[in-house]
Symmetry: C2
Subunit: 371 residues, 2 copies
Amino acid sequence: MPDFPDEEFEHRTIRAQQAMTKAGFDALFLTTEAEIRYFTGFRTLFWQSPTRPWMLVVPRSGKPVAVIPEIGAPLMAETWIDDIRTWPAPRPDDDGVSLAREALAGYDIVATPMGPESTLRMPMLDFRRLGVSFRDASPLILALRAIKSDAEIEAIAAICAIASSGFADAGSLFHPGQSLREAFRDFRIALLRGGADDVPYLVGGAGPEGYADVISPPSDTALQAGDVLMLDTGATRNGYFCDFDRNFALEHASDTARRAYATLNRATEAALNCARPGVTCAELWLVMRNVIGGSGNIGRYGHGLGMQLTEWPSLAAFETTPLSPGMVLTLEPSVATGPETMMVQEENIVITDGPPRLLTTRAAPELPVLT
Amino acid sequence: MPDFPDEEFEHRTIRAQQAMTKAGFDALFLTTEAEIRYFTGFRTLFWQSPTRPWMLVVPRSGKPVAVIPEIGAPLMAETWIDDIRTWPAPRPDDDGVSLAREALAGYDIVATPMGPESTLRMPMLDFRRLGVSFRDASPLILALRAIKSDAEIEAIAAICAIASSGFADAGSLFHPGQSLREAFRDFRIALLRGGADDVPYLVGGAGPEGYADVISPPSDTALQAGDVLMLDTGATRNGYFCDFDRNFALEHASDTARRAYATLNRATEAALNCARPGVTCAELWLVMRNVIGGSGNIGRYGHGLGMQLTEWPSLAAFETTPLSPGMVLTLEPSVATGPETMMVQEENIVITDGPPRLLTTRAAPELPVLT
């Protein structure tokens, strides 16, 4: 601890402060895991407990100020943060509220994330008791975090490599007769053995012509010869995620599945050839959609990636944000294979001044058949 | 899917509606994973993605209404919920807001959790756009979820048994020379092999006279003979958590560590003898504190447990709530062993009409030494 040298957090803070100056904000007020870790390096699984609020104030100049439960003080003291103010949480009659008010007292214009992708991770009654009329920090935070530093890119590359190795062992991991639950468990263990710290996200499905949805937990249903098995994983190492999937046919594959896979692969190739700085997210979405065809509402074909499984921006028709070097994105085209089935393929890339850098080992050009 | 028969969710909803009638609420508005799963059975790891809001309206009579992103419709359709309203999220110009307004339109008094242990898992600007003057549902929700059904208790018992078996293998899992990171990885794998779906929480530490804090991720430091190794795990199965720890000395133990362990054990015994319906959380806290002694601010000595790693109520001096049959609690006394070190012991219990039922295999009466 922490996962990066102090300079990384200093640099992030300076970039934020430059944006705050432009936006006219005197301070940012943050309550969420990713944002507090982004500026401090404070990483713990203790966020699983909803009992205590955690707060960070980022002033327009100088270091951030942590307003946190006493239980977090030793770990926060290992970060570059000097000003750590604590209270013995939980304390219902004043659960950090007066400390936060003091920390915010000197600032006229304070912003907190209130727009897309944001949540408020403290009780709303306490948030209101702060007595601050907050501005919306979401556009600033989203734009800031979307451009990854070299250190962040290498962290994401490391977990992508671990998951790519895990998928490379598919032939020894997955077989007919195995339940989806067992397949998921064995893959999770393979990722941990390969160096993942954790596998917070692992979903998927199976069926001869695709799967019903891509967010379900695994069932006890046994895999069958002819099924396409898809696993989509968000594994982590040092607090950064990969997010990609792979499809495997067991013993043999239907023509429908082979054709859908080939279409997804062409859509990904088209996206890789298009993903350059200045191209908008909507344009990148459109090149994939043009390969896939179809009509109606298809949704998004990828998104940002980093400290969270999904981050801003979306690769979607509405998103006019241009790609910039340092953006880490998923390419995630999907195609309907029947009235209730679909297939998905996903890769993780970094936008550079030239062609994008693939962080995942590119999926095989044809649907792999495990025999 | 889902993890329980429909009657379980129907029963939870009826209990909520009885409480709503008492409180004078016409509907509840919910945005968080645990609350939405509590009433519907909708369980997915997709909550890892912060991009899309999910909403549930629980009326004072009739079934809950789900207002969710299209991507969740197939999975929600497998639950007992009939009225599922979707939109193609993300959709920045109306990300479920108008659907939620419609779903709330018929109700005069709507409550949403805004107090202790609550968060708002949707953008605050969209929450404000709902145009509803919400009442606070936190007391109702906390009291409701604190009393577990028999089915919930068996779910928690199952994961406690899996983790107890994992700890029983400590002798073959942990040894000097191993890094904390390796020890954590091997324990995580043992839990998965034993039947855990996931291990969202695994923290701990090591040192000859205890550890510096109990929320840190594992370091690459090698374990030494004489260290006390503590692992605290929140593993899950079917969406329910265990939350307890175990301490192990490697090869030999310091007198300080042995004495602290014995004190913690006596505190736990005192708590087990005291934890009866009608006793308050504060009284249960006090019997542990009386064993441990010391002065100053000690914090809490346990908490509720269930769908989340920590739940209301706290075993703390401020908490006057009486224990009731069906409450699942952790007993978690801690003791300082030096200016910067501590030790903790944790068990999981259910309050019954008689003595509490232990869900964890009780920790050994003396500090176990792994040789």
